[in-house]
């Protein structure tokens, strides 16, 4: 379990704690105005200036001597900010998440997520790829806020879905190759399960390109049964993190465990049941590496 589980999990994984989904928590944190402000302006989060600096050209800024280190420290603090009163919705303070396998996503959707549940257009794919695809599942007060924003609402389709449909949709996205992730927004309130792609996803962008901890790796990691693998390569194209490679001389795949986010997507491609997820802590070299 990660630091966030210790702080917000009440003995479980942080996203398995029902309290973090409750309307009461949203009320206590006064999140209705906060999230409205944030979602009205979400596409501008990377271009707004924070203390004189925006994220434009962040890769170059982070490489500057000394200043780069200061920026990294400021951004990390912002992402994980817990002091409610000091948070700024325009900077997405306290908004970070973790990759989850389909199974955990289904538990969240069947038991924990607050209603109403909606499925709306993914913002990242829209603002970075110009694609509108309804794959983001939101809960509770955030659903009611997003419903008022026309650009996120699919036309000619039911936006509100029940728990069963939500689980079905998540499974469809997962099998298509989209990575499930669950989000604090803002910490410790949880109101979304996303189905992401990289590099479109803003969170995965910051993590993969700039090593900022906006998205944590899952509580799990993949395990390959080398004897079962027949080298069909089907799993290779499923992995968004380039963690699987086919090696012709041994006619099987190898896993780069360092790159594995534990999303479990590759499993959908394997007909030989050679890939399974195990808890990260069972893998000595990768315990605690989120």
């Amino acid at each position: 379990m990660c630091d966030w589980c210790m702080k917000h999990g009440a003995g479980k994984k942080w996203y398995m704690n029902a309290k973090n989904y409750s309307d009461q928590l949203a009320k206590d944190l006064n999140l209705e105005d906060y999230l409205t402000e944030q979602w009205m302006n979400f596409e501008t989060v990377f271009i707004r200036k924070i203390m004189g600096l925006s994220s434009i050209g962040l890769g170059y800024k982070l490489k500057m001597p000394i200043i780069g280190r200061v920026i990294r420290w400021v951004v990390e603090r912002m992402i994980h900010k817990e002091e409610t009163k000091k948070r700024n919705p325009m900077r997405a303070d306290g908004h970070f998440g973790q990759v989850i396998p389909l199974e955990d996503g289904k538990i969240i959707l069947s038991e924990l997520a607050a209603e109403p549940i909606i499925e709306n257009y993914c913002m990242c794919r829209w603002m970075q790829r110009g694609k509108k695809e309804a794959v983001c599942i939101n809960f509770g007060i955030l659903s009611e806020i997003i419903e008022k924003l026309p650009r996120f609402i699919p036309k000619n389709r039911v936006v509100r879905i029940d728990r069963e449909e939500a689980m079905q949709r998540l499974e469809e996205h997962n099998k298509k190759g989209y990575i499930a992730s669950v989000w604090f927004q803002p910490v410790p309130y949880i109101c979304a399960i996303c189905s992401c792609e990289s590099p479109e996803c803003g969170g995965l962008r910051l993590r993969n390109n700039f090593d900022l901890n906006v998205v944590y790796k899952a509580e799990y990691i993949i395990q390959l049964d080398q004897d079962k693998c027949e080298g069909c390569k089907a799993c290779v194209s499923m992995c968004q993190f380039s963690a699987i490679r086919y090696i012709p001389s041994i006619d099987r795949v190898i896993i780069d465990y360092d790159k594995c986010f534990g999303c479990g997507i590759c499993r959908h491609a394997c007909k030989n049941d050679a890939l399974r997820l195990i808890p990260r802590e069972e893998y000595p070299g990768f315990d605690g590496k989120y």
């Binding site: 009205m40 302006n41 596409e43 501008t44 990377f46 271009i47 707004r48 994220s55 434009i56 050209g57 962040l58 890769g59 170059y60 490489k63 829209w126 603002m127 970075q128 790829r129 110009g130 694609k131 008022k148 924003l149 026309p150 650009r151 590099p199 479109e200 962008r205 390109n209």
Partner: protein
């Protein structure tokens, strides 16, 4: 590697240009590393705050640009310039 500079001519595309990026977004589609961001332009008094109408493109992640020039070729307005 030297810094890549990507410029958009906003007189051709954007909140005051001929093209609304929400209708075109060809540059977003062809850019493998997703260098561009389509967003509402800052500093406008939007009539309907829930449904902003002024949008533009910003090359937000130039450090991951591969200089493939696909965006330059794809842009119908020739609004994108890349140099380093």
């Amino acid at each position: 590697m030297s810094k890549t500079k990507i410029r958009i001519d906003y007189s051709k595309c954007g909140e005051n240009g001929k093209v609304d990026p929400r209708d075109c977004h060809k540059c977003l589609e062809v850019c493998d590393p997703c260098v561009f961001l389509m967003h509402e332009a800052l500093g406008y008094k939007e009539e309907d705050l829930y449904n902003p109408q002024h949008w533009r493109i910003t090359p937000v992640w130039p450090s991951v640009c591969t200089r493939c020039f696909y965006c330059v070729k794809a842009c119908p307005e020739k609004a994108i310039k890349i140099s380093w």
